[in-house]
């Protein structure tokens, strides 16, 4: 038996697929197993195919693979959609008493378990629990102790009363017992448990938690898939730390409300997806020109226009690097894992305040909606540092006043960073503006001052390039002939693909780049390699273009833009095929 186990539940939107999957993932996590989940969902409330997949193992898992061991199919389409991932011996749990499933065909070699999910749920107190019956059945076939499911059911339903918890537990047992009594199947799965404590969270939640850890007290946003979870996470929690969330009327307003809070001195953030970034672009320039620290999260989804709102893509890179008119100093961070969504958000707040510059955090849908297990120490709050930069108070402000006693919020400095006075600071009153301005913040069209202010803002990024860490994350064999470079969520499947290729005798060096602007100088690494492949989820190879530009070299590209993330074995196969081609 492989070390990992792959499970899925699929049906129509509205079937409770997501919450059922989450309960099982939680149960596995609470049993001390590592979990990596993946969601197929449609942009609609009801109808359409939707699925929740779980890969679990005792060792950490970083990706989905193209193998499914147990599938709970609420609709015939669920079997069709997953046909290629099912293998000989895969188990399909379905309810043959459901009209649409009555004549369902189980592919040859697979084990169909016809379990009356609805009827067994009704026996436990209500048809609504039919998915929990299926979870009980899954426990039976996978050799997973049902007590661990209980713990997840308690967490999920505790707020709704003990009776409901008990009903759900009974429903699960009905499923388990039905399979045990009616079917004599031993597939050899034994999902062992450990004493390890894990937490289970997705990338949006990690971003939200990172913001709170960094002292973010203000969030303004407008709901948009797949970034809404950031806002929903913060509401109900940010208040505990003296903060507030505003739901704005649109993204234009959201970034301007967030900007206002930042001008008042709060650590402030907004999160959106590509269409929202489009709308925010004009104000992004104002944030930069007025030298306001602001964190703007882009959870990328498939574009352009409305695109495929619930599908994966890394198509916004060029917009984040170059978007908005004029020339704008900025930082662009790109977390590569769910835990890095936390740490890069913390870092974003520090960079924003130290350099009084807007910071984009570029996450992608695969990070945002995937739940993954981590040891709690991964998010050790003692390691969180808060750096606020050159904030002046009533005493220190004197050093930054001109001979008339006026405060200079855009003073020309060697490092490009000027002092910052929060409103309310005595003798600090000043104007900030999107117009070009002098050191006092007064508009100017003076040619000399224009150049000095542009240079000063540019200098901040150069200072940061010198003073901060922009290194890539390195994996694999540092001396390998083949170098793979990627950004964003591709790190997970790539790290697993390295192991798969190693068993085929192929060694790789892999650099995962979490800093998109400024970014690491990859020239030496590219020159040292015989083959360079850039992996990303877009059609045109936006990051590959940048690598070519930065290193004055040509690279191979693996691009995926069908809306689905890479899985590890697919990526391994792509790389292997590419290496067999004769280099051009």
């Amino acid at each position: 038996m492989p070390a990992d186990f792959n499970w899925a539940i699929g049906g129509e939107a509205g079937d409770g697929i997501d919450s059922t999957g989450k309960i099982f993932a939680q149960a596995l996590s609470r049993a001390g197993r590592h979990v990596f989940t993946s969601k197929d969902f449609a942009s609609r409330i009801r109808g359409g195919y939707t699925a929740y997949k779980i890969r679990t193992a005792v060792d950490p898992v970083q990706s989905v693979v193209d193998r499914l061991d147990v599938l709970i199919a609420l609709t015939p389409r669920t079997i069709e959609e997953n046909r290629d991932e099912l293998h000989e011996g895969s188990v399909i749990v379905y309810d043959g008493e459901r009209t649409t499933m009555a004549n369902v065909e189980i592919p040859d070699g697979m084990v169909g378990l016809d379990v009356p999910l609805k009827r067994l749920a009704e026996e436990a107190g209500g048809a609504i629990m039919r998915n929990v019956v299926a979870l009980g059945a899954a426990c039976q076939v996978s050799g997973f102790p049902i007590e661990n499911l209980d713990s997840a059911l308690e967490k999920r339903f505790a707020s709704k009363g003990q009776a409901l918890v008990d009903n759900n537990k009974e429903a699960a047992r009905n499923g388990k017992e039905y399979v045990a009594e009616e079917y004599d199947v031993d597939l050899g799965y034994e999902l062992e448990t450990t004493d390890n404590d894990y937490v289970l969270l997705n990338g949006d939640e990690a971003i939200g938690m990172g913001a709170l850890a960094a002292g973010c007290k203000f969030y303004a946003g407008y709901p948009i898939t797949p970034a809404t979870d950031v806002m929903e996470y913060l509401i109900g929690r940010i208040e505990r730390f003296g903060g507030h969330v505003v739901q704005a009327e649109d993204e234009l307003s959201a970034i301007n409300i967030a900007l206002g809070a930042a001008r008042a001195g709060a650590r402030s953030m907004t999160a959106t997806s590509g269409p929202g970034i489009d709308l925010m672009a004009e104000t992004f320039g104002l944030v930069a020109t007025s030298e306001t620290p602001l964190v703007v999260v882009d959870v990328m989804r498939s574009g352009p226009s409305t695109g495929m709102p619930t599908k994966q893509e890394q198509g916004d890179l060029n917009m984040l690097l170059y978007g908005s008119h004029g020339e704008i100093p900025r930082f662009v961070l790109g977390p590569t894992t769910i835990s890095e969504c936390f740490w890069k958000t913390v870092e974003a707040f520090n960079l924003a305040e130290k350099y009084q510059t807007p910071v984009y955090v570029a996450a992608d849908l695969s990070l945002a909606v995937t739940e993954q297990t981590f040891s709690p120490e991964t998010f050790d709050m003692d390691d969180v540092e808060v750096e606020r930069g050159k904030v002046v108070d009533e005493e220190s402000i004197e050093a930054w006043q001109n001979e008339k006693g006026q405060f200079e919020p855009h003073a020309l400095t060697d490092d490009g960073v000027s002092p910052r006075a929060f409103p309310g600071t005595v003798e600090g009153a000043h104007m900030s503006t999107g117009l070009e301005h002098d050191e006092l913040g007064r508009r100017t069209e003076d040619t000399g001052m224009r150049v000095e202010q542009v240079d000063k803002r540019t200098r901040k990024v150069e200072t940061a390039r010198e003073d901060e860490n922009w290194e890539p994350r390195e994996f694999g064999d540092p001396d390998a002939d083949t170098l793979v470079i990627s950004w964003g969520s591709n790190e997970g499947p790539m790290t697993e693909a390295i192991g798969m290729l190693e068993t085929e005798g192929i060694d790789l060096r892999f650099l995962s780049v979490p800093y998109l602007l400024p970014r690491p100088d990859l020239t030496d690494a590219v020159e040292a390699a015989e083959r360079v492949i850039v992996v990303e989820c877009n059609a045109t190879g936006q990051f590959a273009d940048i690598v070519e530009h930065d290193t004055l070299s040509r690279v191979d590209r693996i691009n995926k833009y069908d809306g689905v993330r890479f899985d590890a074995d697919e990526l391994a196969a792509e790389i292997e095929a590419r290496l067999q081609e004769v280099p051009q």
């Binding site: 289970l200 850890a213 009327e249 301007n256 206002g260 809070a261 001195g265 709050m381 003692d382 808060v386």
Partner: protein, 287 residues
């Protein structure tokens, strides 16, 4: 706050570039007087300005200020006030900024009822781009971009505010210095969103809605015995297209500002040196 603040303390060292005779001079003077009269000083005041002739006002005043992008001044003011309720926040803009490109924000800022004031310099024309129709221009007002007039009715900003659930609606005339300053002062003192539409004539591009026109047609509600807390009476005045009114048209006695409803009473600029106390509980929630 110092008690001896004079309104001239709110003047910056910049000379306005408004045309001689522009209504915005009077509008700004009234704003400065009202701020001084309400015990504010430049260091606790935050002015947000939009784009257009009116948007230059932040430059000519001395306070903390942000001169933002076109039409988004109200969201900025919202963020400033919620993040630091101790600040006096005043948003200033024009009829284009507020009722055209920023009309969506106007509706929602009114609904939100954040405790700040919004002063709109309404000259019924686009001045800075040299004379095009604005959302409050008359339907037959001929301009370079509307040679036969806009041929659509002007926005009634007071009605828009009322329909959006406003708690304070007023109108003033920039050249009636005393009344204008009084009305702005009332907007500042109002617990909630204090909205004042100020007739602030453009002497260069608008030859219809002139000083003379407003002087001749303006009716002061204070002299009419209007009860500002009477919603139906307010509605009647606001929808009366036959007259131009000056004064506080509507003030809700039940206004509770956004921040007060949500218990926002602290300056959010202060942050711990590391993760805040209790942050590790956030991690445990995911167990």
């Amino acid at each position: 706050m110092s008690s001896d603040v004079r309104f001239t303390d709110f003047k910056s060292d910049q000379q306005p570039t408004w045309c001689p005779g522009c209504g915005d001079f009077g509008t700004m003077n009234g704003m400065m007087k009202a701020l001084a009269n309400t015990g504010n000083d430049p260091d606790n005041t935050f002015i947000v300005a939009g784009i257009g002739c009116s948007g230059k006002i932040g430059t000519y005043m001395r306070s903390y200020a942000l001169h933002g992008v076109h039409g988004r001044a109200l969201p900025v003011g919202t963020g400033v006030k919620l993040a630091n309720p101790e600040l006096e926040v005043m948003v200033a803009g024009g009829d284009g900024d507020g009722y055209s490109i920023g009309a969506g924000h106007f509706v929602h800022a009114v609904r939100r009822n954040v405790d700040m004031s919004y002063i709109v310099m309404d000259n019924r024309i686009y001045g800075l781009t040299k004379g095009q129709a604005s959302p409050t221009s008359r339907d037959d007002f001929e301009t370079s971009t509307t040679p036969e007039g806009p041929q659509q009715p002007p926005v009634n900003p007071l009605a828009l505010a009322l329909a959006s659930g406003a708690t304070f609606i007023a109108q003033s005339f920039s050249t009636d210095a005393q009344r204008h300053a009084e009305i702005v002062q009332e907007a500042i003192e109002h617990d909630g969103f204090g909205f004042v539409n100020v007739f602030s004539p453009c002497v260069t591009f608008n030859d219809v809605d002139t000083y003379d026109y407003f002087r001749d047609s303006l009716v002061d509600l204070a002299e009419e015995g209007h009860d500002r807390t009477d919603y139906d009476a307010a509605k009647e005045k606001i929808l009366d297209a036959s007259k131009e009114y000056q004064g506080v048209v509507w003030q809700s006695e039940k206004s509770i500002p956004y921040g007060e409803k949500r218990g926002l009473d602290t300056d959010m600029s202060q942050v711990d040196d590391g993760a805040p106390e209790g942050a590790m509980d956030l991690v445990r929630e995911f167990y």
